[in-house]
Amino acid sequence: MAGEALDGAPLVRARGLRKDFGGFTAVDGIDFEVRRGEVFGFLGPNGAGKTSTMRMVGCVSPSTGGTLEVLGLDPSSDGPAIRSRLGVVPQEDNLDTELSVWDNFIVYGRYFGLPRAVIKERAEELLDFARLTERRHDRVDPLSGGMKRRLTIARALVNEPEMVLLDEPTTGLDPQARHLLWDRLYGLKRQGVTLILTTHYMDEAEQLCDRLVVMDEGRIVDEGSPRQLIERHVTAEVVELRFAEPELQAKAEPVATEVADRYEALADRLLLYTDDGDATRRALADRGVEALTELTRRASLEDVFLVLTGRTLDD
């Protein structure tokens, strides 16, 4: 069929993609491809250009440069056709809060031109998916943050999308609600739905993403699986040292170069990158470095980001 992405062809293909708002460049010429069935992530701090990129892929924001193809179609001319095959979960829940949970499904399904009977059938399943069956007649307003989030995600599935865009899906949720959401997203992945998500949580990116790009200041700084990125840029382990006084941390820095492959000095701690945390800690003790707290952990995407940009994700 014309315009249909062939199997194996990427669902999203961006080349030199740009987004300028007046004089401000939000996305500064990025290349990426998203393949069918994968979970693809944009990792980066706030303001990195993740949301602007998502909005272009979601065909609600025209690009100002480069080329973009979504589901084999051109967003500038085929926006409604593309959007009718996408599910969109924005950063802020924008549910109809005066309406009931059930009505939210009905109203939203109608935006895709779906017949009521079809929407009702799907809404039953999606209520179950979102674990909101008991709350179906309740208004949305008083629901908890986690429930609203699950409803927003479930609502985005009412048109049985081939690809779901999730912008910061778990921001603002408590750990239990996050894990429940991740579980729901795994479920979608198992069903073969392609997911694109943005996050500034490295644990979320590591948990969910098959492949991701690290974004900073509108550019992509690297791309790969979480494991590949960690192996490429950092050592297997990280020793974190916190000191009682900043001067003690400054004094420890020269030692750090001797006992670790590399180190990063943050405002409140020293990070030592090493393939053997225990050996590094013994070497530190031998050289008389005394930290207030010391811990060895696996290297994470947070470390990758730090190495790539010199900044932490929270900055």
């Binding site: 979601g58 959007r83 924008n94 549910l95 005066e98 939203y108 031109g113």
Partner: protein, 254 residues
């Protein structure tokens, strides 16, 4: 705008149906209070003094209130309601993430304001008729200009409010725009009472055209001029819609 505009209208009407208690005062009770105070209370004095434009004051003021109330309720929905949809609640953003386009959201809003004004106008007409404020069998025709006034108000004001980042200018629009229109568009007294120099200003008021056409229908006097008034309203609506579509497109798909 696409065929899905009716789906946006459905949404607006469903929200209206679910929140009707909050709308019942501005849509139904407030116009009836005006009718009681102006038509019966003030009307007694006016009629003792010789009446307005040669008729009972109630007959004069009822159509004016009908059309003017349509503008008043559409103003609130189109100013604060639009800000809610694009910013405070953000539902309009969720609507354009679907097969719909921004023009559908705008069109649904304007159409729903028309439907809502229709729903409010029918009981008003019935009550006005019971009190003797309606003297023509053609009175149901008054629904046409009334609905058009509401749609013009919605089309123009939401095209404006969608360009704003917050609601700080909205009270000024109400006080310096809508309320003067409400008072001086031939609603409560004939425009002939105004100084000659001011009268041409009233002619550009869409509400004045709406009031005149509504009055022609309820008080008897439907003629070619009535059609002309309606044509003016339709023309203002037609001129506002492209602006609204552009404004909604810029705001919702930046």
């Amino acid at each position: 705008m696409s065929a899905l505009v009716v789906r946006a209208l459905e949404r607006e009407l469903l929200v209206y149906a679910r929140t009707w208690r909050g709308n019942v005062f501005t849509s139904f009770i407030q116009p009836l209070l005006f009718l009681g105070a102006m038509g019966l209370g003030l009307g007694g004095l006016v009629d003792d003094a010789g009446g307005a434009a040669g008729t009972d004051y109630l007959v004069f003021v009822a159509p004016g209130l009908l059309a003017a109330s349509a503008l008043l309720s559409s103003a609130g929905e189109s100013l604060w309601g639009v800000m809610g949809g694009v910013k405070w609640m953000g539902q309009f953003n969720s609507m354009v993430a679907t097969a719909m386009v921004p023009g559908d959201v705008y069109g649904g809003l304007v159409l729903s304001t028309g439907v809502r004004s229709f729903i409010a106008a029918v009981p008003f007409l019935v009550v006005a008729t019971l009190f003797g404020g309606v003297t023509s069998w053609l009175a149901p025709l008054a629904l046409v200009p009334t609905v058009l006034v509401a749609m013009v108000g919605s089309a123009v004001l939401s095209a404006y409010s969608v360009t704003k980042q917050d609601d700080s200018t909205f009270p000024i629009i109400m006080r310096l725009g809508i309320i003067p229109l409400f008072l001086f568009s031939g609603t409560f007294f004939p425009v002939e009472q105004l100084p000659d120099a001011v009268r041409p200003v009233v002619w550009i008021s869409p509400l004045w055209h709406g009031v005149e056409a509504t009055r022609d229908a309820t008080a008897g006097g439907v003629d070619g001029v009535t059609a002309l008034h309606i044509a003016v309203l339709a023309a203002v609506l037609a001129a506002a819609v492209p602006m609204g579509v552009r404004g909604f497109t810029r705001r919702l798909t930046p």
